[in-house]
């Protein structure tokens, strides 16, 4: 590779020489482009394609059915239930999760002795896998020996069938999910807080502004881009939840926790209905696309520094 020829290509050189930079760049980009093509773009188009077909057991398209898979889905009680569960799950987990993480980030942003210890503890759930956390929470939710029912017992309250009661199962999954996501949200929000210029607080203090005033007028507005980002990520994560459902409830009881990714998994790899599973996957893709586009559109307006 002769780099010096590339930096100032004289006009009269042929197209071959002039495209030297592009060819070199493509060489460096080739591994990424190839992998994206094989494992992201091709399968995305393939998923859309399959969603218009009935498939055989090997996942090959067998019969073109147009939009029938979609029509079938939206009439199916099961799928409508799955959408309802997913929306509820998002509502249960995203606002609470972000508020808890924000609270932790705020108290861990104070300059106090030993604050590093607390930061480490708060971010620790990021290092714990979904499978491991789910197994631990499975025990905490255990009807007889689990901690929650023991606590209720001590307070003379009746126990709750956390994971077996259709009214409670989704709440239980949400509680464990909020805990799992605390670490990551905390770390991002703390980073956002530390990026805020100390000078702003100093001048506010000189003016005699109290803690709450500073929080409302400086911290929250300056943190809004980070908050916005973490809300988007939490939304997307909530749509993609799988592991905790698989380990804690298997989508039950009476499908109360059959979140969309679990529903796709079941439809494809248990029922071998790859066509309808693909239609569900396209639906998931569209949901996440809308969230991402909203982030870009609103984000442009909101980000007011950097």
């Amino acid at each position: 590779m002769k780099a010096d020829a590339a930096s100032t290509p004289p006009k009269q050189l042929g197209l071959w020489r002039k495209s030297l930079n592009a060819r070199t760049a493509l060489l460096y980009l080739f591994p990424s482009i190839l992998l994206f093509a094989v494992f992201i773009f091709y399968p995305m188009f393939r998923t859309i394609y399959l969603s218009f077909f009935l498939t055989d057991q090997q996942g090959a398209a067998a019969l073109f059915v147009g939009f029938e898979n979609y029509a079938y889905l939206f009439e199916s009680r099961e799928f409508r239930n799955s959408i309802k569960a997913t929306v509820l799950f998002v509502l249960y987990t995203v606002p609470t999760g972000v508020i808890i993480a924000l609270f932790l980030a705020l108290i861990a942003n104070e300059k106090l002795k030993g604050i590093g210890f607390f930061r480490t503890v708060y971010s620790s759930t990021m290092g714990i896998s979904v499978a491991a956390s789910s197994v631990v929470w499975l025990f905490l939710f255990h009807p007889s020996i689990g901690m929650f029912n023991r606590l209720l017992n001590v307070m003379n309250l009746p126990g709750v069938q956390w994971l077996l009661d259709p009214d409670w199962a989704l709440v239980s999954i949400s509680i464990s999910t909020i805990w799992m996501n605390i670490g990551f949200s905390f770390l991002i929000l703390l980073g956002g807080l530390q990026n805020i210029d100390e000078y702003l607080y100093e001048s506010a203090r000189i003016d005699g502004a109290g803690y709450w005033y500073q929080l409302r007028r400086i911290t929250i507005p300056m943190l809004s881009p980070t908050l916005f980002f973490i809300i988007t990520i939490s939304l997307i994560n909530a749509f993609q939840t799988f592991g905790q459902v698989d380990i804690l409830t298997k989508g039950g009881p009476s499908q109360a926790t059959n979140l969309i990714v679990y529903s796709i998994y079941r439809e494809a790899f248990v029922n071998y209905q790859f066509g309808t599973a693909s239609a569900q996957a396209v639906f998931l893709f569209i949901c996440i696309l809308i969230v991402t586009i909203l982030q870009f559109k609103l984000g442009e307006k909101k980000v007011h520094y950097q």
């Binding site: 590779m1 591994p31 996942g59 609270f103 108290i107 106090l112 620790s124 896998s129 990714v261 950097q306």
Partner: protein, 272 residues
């Protein structure tokens, strides 16, 4: 800045209570991993004695050692793969001006809008057709290219002075030599951040290993946990929790060591 003593106390109380609540599930799992069945039924918090029976049992029940080695190989493999693939791409974006760069950049961004779960069905069949079921390739290669990782490194590469690039050209250093001998060494911190991130996320991966492994040969620890919990012996919670502790220790250590780095890297990669 000075804080009054009562205010300080209030903050410490809040910090301690929150730390206890956040860490409680892990602490409890740790305690239970030392308990016998009887102790667990009694609902104790502290074990009577520290003994490692449950840890010995869990390595007996499952090929856990095997799974741990598999998880290490897979996580390390993805980490290395991501570092190579992403740094090459980031280098091209920053140091080689070429026509169509915007278009390719857009392609990279668009991959971030496609949820991985929406593509898993065709990916599963691709792996099957490549005959990569139950192999390390099947578990690692699909994750080598990462738009987030490319952006993270690109962000750092951009801070490297252009003069360095010019000087290298004058010195007759080829593009690859410049990349290998100059760019990579000065970007160590970003590479470490991305590496830790890649290792962590791969170690914790659940759905993909569940799909592409059907034998114990290359299975990872996360699937081991599912097996452990769904086996009949799962009533022995002490053994299950011993398994959990063994699985989370490597990532917890990694997180504790690299928390500051990771926080800085993730915030930068996320917001710019």
């Amino acid at each position: 800045m000075m804080m009054s003593t009562p205010k300080k106390c209030l903050f410490y109380v809040l910090l301690f209570i929150s730390a206890f609540l956040v860490f409680f599930p892990v602490l409890y799992a740790f305690m239970i991993s030392f308990m016998s069945g009887g102790e667990i039924l009694q609902g104790k918090f502290f074990p009577e004695s520290i003994h490692f029976d449950n840890y010995i049992k869990v390595f007996d029940r499952l090929p856990l050692m095997n799974y741990l080695i598999n998880s290490f190989i897979v996580s390390f493999g993805v980490m290395l793969g991501q570092l190579v693939v992403c740094s090459l791409a980031a280098y091209a974006f920053v140091f080689i001006p070429f026509k169509g760069r915007d278009f390719i950049f857009f392609l990279f961004i668009s991959t971030m809008m496609i949820p991985w779960e929406a593509t898993m069905i065709p990916n599963f069949f691709t792996i099957q057709k490549l005959d990569w079921m139950n192999t390390y390739q099947g578990l690692t290669v699909p994750f080598f290219a990462l738009a987030f990782g490319t952006f993270l490194l690109r962000q750092h590469f951009k801070t490297i002075p252009k003069e360095l690039h010019e000087a290298a050209e004058v010195a007759g250093l080829g593009k690859f030599a410049f990349f290998w001998r100059v760019i990579l060494p000065v970007s160590k911190t970003s590479l470490v951040t991305l590496g830790a991130y890649g290792f962590l996320t791969t170690w914790n991966m659940y759905l993909w290993p569940l799909l592409v492994t059907s034998t114990d040969q290359v299975r990872t620890v996360q699937i081991g946990l599912k097996q452990l919990q769904s086996q009949e012996v799962a009533t022995e919670w002490g053994v299950v929790m011993a398994g959990v502790i063994v699985v989370i220790i490597p990532t917890l250590l990694l997180l504790f060591a690299g928390q500051k780095q990771l926080q800085k890297g993730l915030t930068q990669g996320a917001l710019k």
